[in-house]
Symmetry: C2
Subunit: 199 residues, 2 copies
DNA sequence: GGCGGTATTGTGGAAATCCGTAATCGCCCG
DNA sequence: CGGGCGATTACGGATTTCCACAATACCGCC
């Protein structure tokens, strides 16, 4: 899926001018007049970044931000406001917003921030796709295989694993071979490398 | 080393009142009237967090922040200012400041932020100390041992490693045993776990 | 020159892993 | 009820790792 800038602002003049700005820079932009409109039109599978106005009729920008994060949406969010104060900006950034800019703002500045956000999202997406692939393979493992994997990852001998699981060594070997197969690795070390950063 | 709050502010009234506040909450506080004073008194090995005023005679808070970061100091920094604006706050947070609060501020709020910062720094310190320990052991390895380690970590058999390094398998075994000894691990998998996140 | 550290290699055996073949048992599904 | 699947186990052999004992060579340092 191509990246888009999702612009949510209740001011039509802003939507038009920013929409034009992004299109002129070759960035695909989709504008929404309210948080509700955005939610209705975009359920999931988004790619790109969000440009959120703070004050809007109905749901506010920060409320939409919180809702999306709660739903697991990790799109970079740039807040855009004409009436922001310091605590608001601090709160937004500490909650993980990508940026917080005041209107009116320099077009080039804004485009640069957006491009940075898009770049971040692209690498995020790449990283999470490999993570997903690993998780997918992980999910295909049997209960026993997962148990054996844990102990293998703990650096224990098959002999010890067999003892701890109260099964024969041969069974451990079978599970081990099966899980290596499923995870697409040839040795325990490769498996450890694959799971770098988990459990 | 115990944790301290390092307070840098050119307003004596602030230094006194905040100093009293922290002492009353059982938090050790050291106050400095300028960035230069702080730098002169505290070279390295600090533990705790920094409370930095933005506008000061001489070096400003953000300038001191940048300087410390450039020197590798990762202490959490809370900016404290009576004349802050949104871009300033955004810039500070995006550069990694822990927080940005406006004066006058609620005492409890400030103490809470400081306690959060101290807690973060404590876990940071713990993490970096284990990382240091690993790096220290890593530094004690011989060139050959490091080479062998790389290949072991790549999941290769001793046979293959011997071939690639153009040495006998027996030599590889020796290096392998030696480096396991030096790194304090018993198996290749443990080694991989130890180096999770590196190279 | 001797001493210590690193790198190198060999022999040989104990221990562990790897793997093909084969079989039993229990459970869920069509 | 038969088939598929996961879990279990056994035998036996090939491969690999682990380790003690032993030895040679290079290099820098006192």
């Amino acid at each position: 899926m191509n990246q888009h800038v999702y612009l949510v602002d209740d001011d039509e003049a802003i939507r038009d001018s920013l929409g034009w700005l992004f299109q002129s820079r070759g960035v695909d932009c989709r504008a929404f007049a309210s948080a509700e409109d955005f939610l209705a039109a975009c359920d999931g599978g988004l790619s790109g970044c969000l440009l959120l106005d703070i004050r809007m009729d109905g749901m506010s920008g920060p409320e939409l931000f919180d809702l999306l994060r709660a739903r697991g949406c990790t799109l970079p969010v740039i807040f855009l406001t004409g009436h922001g104060d310091v605590p608001m900006a601090v709160s937004a950034l500490k909650k993980g917003a990508f940026d917080f800019v005041e209107k009116p703002c320099n077009d080039n500045e804004l485009v640069n921030r957006v491009l940075e956000a898009l770049s971040l999202e692209a690498s995020q997406r790449a990283a999470s796709s490999t993570a997903d692939s690993v998780n997918h393979r992980l999910a295909a493992l049997t209960t026993r295989e997962r148990q054996v994997m844990e102990l293998v990852l703990a650096g224990k001998f098959n002999k010890v694993i067999a003892d701890e699981l109260q099964i024969s060594m041969r069974t451990v070997e079978v599970h081990r071979a099966n899980l290596f197969e499923k995870m697409g690795v040839k040795t325990a070390v490769e498996l450890a490398g694959l799971l770098t950063g988990k459990r």
